[in-house]
């Protein structure tokens, strides 16, 4: 236990960086994912094709491959980052955006047909139908799966620790190497800080599920 208390500032630093990676990547992924989902249901064939390929490829790419590409391959191709956080955020946000897009799309599909028909019959165009009628309802139904994706994002940010970003997992790995005799305590400490993020989010997801979800 002592090793955790002694290194509490390091844990805290890692915790904040994990939080930072998750929040920044989460916001980018939410925006990007919603745009991709909108493209996926749009009348323009090229947009549909592009977004389908985007989602299919990213959903089937292991996160470690995405990280390897952003943090190892890109710099050797001449795209260098001042901080490795940027590479981590690129990998995390593009990877997560594919899942967000799928969730939003399933939300769009869950909105009753009559909503879109009513909107079209009063003369709304595609952008209005989607932006004013469908998406507000769709986003509401997909809040719980969205939160689950964000939980996965928090856990996924641990991969950044292996690609030169000293977040919770990265610090944990260094501490484990430095304190070879107390590895178990060190890693349980890391686990505790992850649970500090994921468990409340999980409870939030199930609460929101009961309260916000529209009964259909």
């Amino acid at each position: 236990m002592d090793v955790i208390i002694e290194n509490l500032p390091i844990y805290w630093d890692g915790f904040l960086r994990t939080l930072y990676l998750s929040v920044v990547s989460g916001v980018i992924a939410l925006v990007l994912g919603t745009l991709i989902a909108a493209a996926r249901v749009s009348p323009v064939a090229a947009l549909r094709g592009f977004s389908t390929v985007y989602v299919e490829i990213l959903r089937n790419t292991p996160l470690t491959i995405a990280f390897f590409f952003a943090a190892v391959v890109l710099p050797r191709l001449g795209v260098t980052f001042e901080q490795f956080e940027v590479a981590a955020i690129i990998a995390l946000s593009t990877y997560t955006s594919a899942f967000i897009a799928e969730a939003v799309r399933s939300g769009v599909n869950s909105v009753p047909v009559g909503q879109a028909e009513a909107a079209r019959s009063i003369g709304m165009k595609f952008g209005q139908v989607l932006g004013l009628i469908i998406l507000p309802q769709a986003l509401r139904t997909v809040i719980p799966p969205m939160i689950n994706i964000l939980i996965a994002l928090v856990k996924n940010s641990s991969v950044a620790g292996a690609f030169y970003v000293l977040e919770l997992f990265g610090h944990g790995r260094q501490l484990a190497n430095a304190n070879g005799d107390q590895v178990m305590a060190v890693l349980l400490g890391v686990a505790f800080f992850y649970l500090l993020l994921t468990v409340p989010l999980g409870i939030l997801a199930s609460t929101v599920e009961r309260k916000v979800a529209i009964a259909r």
Binding site: P43, T61, P62, T64, F68, N148, A152, V183
Partner: protein, 281 residues
């Protein structure tokens, strides 16, 4: 393709859509051309860089990487599935002191980054990387399997369990003989989709020094020289993605094929990792 979101396109809309498609295609082609010229300036397309793929030993290393990836995934899946079934039974047990600790355990396992579990096993139990990868994957995926099957059982029509109890089966026998087999069939698309996640997560083995495909890429690039990193990475990533897309397609195929052996039919794959199921009709 028609959609409820927009009217069937008239001539004007079709022309607009065509123009937008052409402009979009040109933009994407331009972007690709930019990437390709940048890469070409770095000499990526020089024949000698790709000539390494004519060497047998490169393919041997890639093959070993694939085998390491697949064997870790297969072994984990084979262990995780029965374990998941067991955890599911414990999770829905009627006895609170079994049910509640199992629930806490499952929440714990699902709230943990898989790579952290792998590192824990590797360092604390001092195992080989292979064992660490397999145990990490088993712990996480058995918890997810348990939750998927539980969602399946809960989404079965109530009458299934009631009928089982009515003909005198015990609660446990009703679970084993009536509910579980139907739940597994019903949730097959989600279970196969989870296999894709498992397969993807084997690449986390890279971090705990397990010699899987990505690690093989790194080793070859270190050994042969950095100029080969991009070609090898490109091929390896392509292999990974191709395998995953194939398994994803399998899940979609199972979903489309349906089944008449389960009340309520086959449930569509749970999108993402959301475990909330619509009630069967």
């Amino acid at each position: 393709m028609t959609s409820v979101l927009y009217d069937a396109p008239g001539p004007k809309a079709r022309r607009f859509s065509l123009i937008a498609s052409v402009v979009g295609a040109i933009l994407i082609a331009g972007l690709l051309a930019l990437i390709v010229t940048t890469l070409a300036q770095q000499g990526i397309f020089e024949g000698r860089r790709w000539a390494i793929f004519t060497r047998g030993d490169v393919w041997t290393l890639i093959g070993n990487g694939i085998m390491a990836t697949l064997s870790a995934a297969a072994l984990s899946a084979v262990i995780a599935f029965p374990l998941g079934l067991m955890l599911c039974l414990l999770r829905i047990s009627l006895v609170p002191w079994i049910r509640i600790p199992t629930r806490v355990l499952l929440e714990f396992l699902r709230g943990m980054p898989v790579v952290l579990m792998m590192l824990f096993v590797l360092l604390v139990l001092a195992t080989s990387p292979f064992i660490a990868v397999v145990i990490g994957l088993v712990l996480y995926n058995s918890a997810v399997f348990a939750e998927i099957i539980r969602a399946g059982i809960q989404s079965l029509p109530k009458g299934q369990r009631e009928a089982g109890l009515a003909i005198g089966l015990t609660s446990f026998k009703s679970r084993m003989l009536i509910e579980l087999p139907q739940a597994v069939r019903r949730m097959m698309p989600s279970l196969v989709a989870q296999l894709v996640v498992l397969l993807k997560d084997t690449s986390l083995g890279y971090i705990v020094a397990y010699a899987e495909l990505l690690r093989a890429v790194q080793v070859m690039a270190d050994f042969l020289g950095n100029q080969y990193l991009f070609p090898i990475f490109f091929v390896a990533a392509g292999i990974y993605i191709a395998i995953n897309i194939a398994v994803s397609r399998l899940a979609v195929w199972i979903e489309r094929r349906g089944s008449n052996k389960t009340a309520g039919g086959v449930a569509p794959a749970i999108k993402t990792i959301d475990l909330q199921m619509p009630q069967a009709k």
